[in-house]
Amino acid sequence: MTPLSGSMVPRLARGMRLTEDRTRGRLVIQAPERLFVPDETAVHVLQLIDGARTLDQVIDELAQRFAAPRGEIATDVQEMLADLMERRVVVA
């Protein structure tokens, strides 16, 4: 996998909406005729992806929030984003 550039600015693709599913007590990504149910880690990432922060800023923020080594966080976030971009949930 080619690492994603730290300066890219990821955002949810058009037609994707991160919303609260109150009935089932979870956050979901509403997508055209489908639904993605992100795990807890993905939710943290998705909430920071706002079309303004760069990937580096997202990683910094998470590393700080969880007091975790930046390298580990970076690997996790990169992998997750690459997968979401392949499925066109996230674009940059």
């Binding site: 058009r14 037609g15 909406r17 919303t19 009935t23 089932r24 055209p32 639904l35």
Partner: protein
């Protein structure tokens, strides 16, 4: 066991449609415009649905834009907090119309196409000039940066141009392409001989999709499933009877599947008179084929029982005469030969079909 709350609401706003596609999923007995639910009734229903756990509403028809109050209906769905999907032929909406819908809160547009080029597309859709209007509509959607899925409905008369339909999706800037094999209910069943593709055609299409999907990864999402008549196992129709989706007809009848009115011995509640929650959890119709208790062998003892839910009840009834039978699409069904025979017969048949329009239903449908 308590069923899960529903995820989706398929709102059939009207049966009116300027197109006359011979594979329409609407019933042969089409509803006229005068008796349709009002925008206020739909809005009330959307709030009930959201309360019940529905997340997405699919505004369908007929052609939903045949209703002049469509913006009001979209606004109602949006206000209820639902993800709002418009399933349209695209032939009646101009740019101002699309903009009004986007402003009302529309999240996504699914545009159907009948073929990659206008001569064949207009013949299949039964509307001269229709394909060109669809292209203009797609441009208007793109200009507003609305999410767009192209829905290419495929069958034996256009499947050989699937590569061109994929190219069309890219050209129109679609985010997603749904390659939808015709499902043989209603009008499509009546026209099955003219539409059902051959095995060779299907295999070529499937190979093409596998190749192109890889090439277009990250650019275009392609949805494609092997169609029933060439499959080994049936699909979980609507995700299972009363498991995920509620269909509401133009007149307000709540159905577990859009063809459910074709089943004998079932009465369907109307959302004008009954609450959606009571319909979903308590009605005899939604409980009739819910879960696995109703199943007969081979479904009853099958490890796939809760995966495909025995397939489609309407298809089982239409083909075998027994709504509780295993969907004959399944090769474990004792009636599977019916499906194989249909493929053989379609291979030898001509291309003539009956257009879907009021008063044009064939008197009898030979399954």
């Amino acid at each position: 066991m308590t069923p899960p709350p529903p995820i989706g609401l398929l709102a059939e706003l009207t049966h009116r449609c300027p197109l006359r596609c011979p594979y329409c999923s609407n019933p042969l007995d089409l509803v006229r415009g005068s008796d349709e639910l009002s925008a206020a009734e739909w809005t009330r229903l959307f709030h009930e649905a959201a309360e019940l756990g529905v997340l997405q509403v699919h505004l369908s028809g007929g052609e939903p834009a045949a209703r002049r109050d469509l913006p009001e209906i979209v606004a109602g769905a949006h206000a209820a907090g639902l993800y709002t999907n418009l399933i349209t032929s695209g032939v009646t909406l101009d740019e101002a119309g699309v903009r009004e819908l986007a402003r009302a809160g529309l999240d996504h547009v699914q545009l159907s196409v009948q073929d990659s080029e206008h001569t064949s597309a207009d013949r299949i859709g039964g509307l001269p000039g229709g394909h060109v209007r669809k292209m203009a509509f797609a441009a208007a959607v793109a200009a507003l940066d609305l999410a767009l899925t192209l829905n290419a409905v495929v069958h034996k008369q256009n499947l050989d141009r699937l590569d061109e339909m994929i190219a069309l999706a890219l050209r129109l800037g679609a985010d997603r392409l749904e390659i939808a094999h015709v499902q043989y209910h209603g009008w499509a069943l009546a026209n099955r001989d003219a539409l059902l593709p051959s095995r060779a055609q299907l295999d070529a299409a499937t190979a093409l999709v596998a190749r192109v999907r890889e090439e277009l990864r990250g650019r275009l999402v392609i949805d494609y499933v092997i169609p029933d008549y060439h499959a080994v196992r049936p699909k979980p129709c609507m995700g299972g009877w009363g498991q995920q989706v509620i269909v509401v007809t133009p007149r307000g009848r709540a159905l577990p599947c859009h063809a459910a009115e074709s089943l004998p011995g079932l009465t369907f509640e109307n959302v004008r008179h009954s609450g959606l929650r009571a319909i979903w959890y308590e009605s005899a119709s939604f409980n009739r084929y819910r879960g696995t208790d109703w199943m007969q062998p081979p479904c009853r003892d099958c490890e796939n029982a809760e995966r495909d839910w025995g397939g489609c009840r309407c298809q089982a009834h239409a083909l075998t005469g027994d709504a509780a039978a295993t969907d004959p699409v399944c090769d474990l069904s004792p009636r599977h030969a019916l499906v194989q025979a249909a493929v053989v017969r379609a291979d030898a048949s001509a291309r003539a079909f009956v257009y879907r329009q009021f008063g044009n239903a064939p008197a009898t449908v030979d399954a």
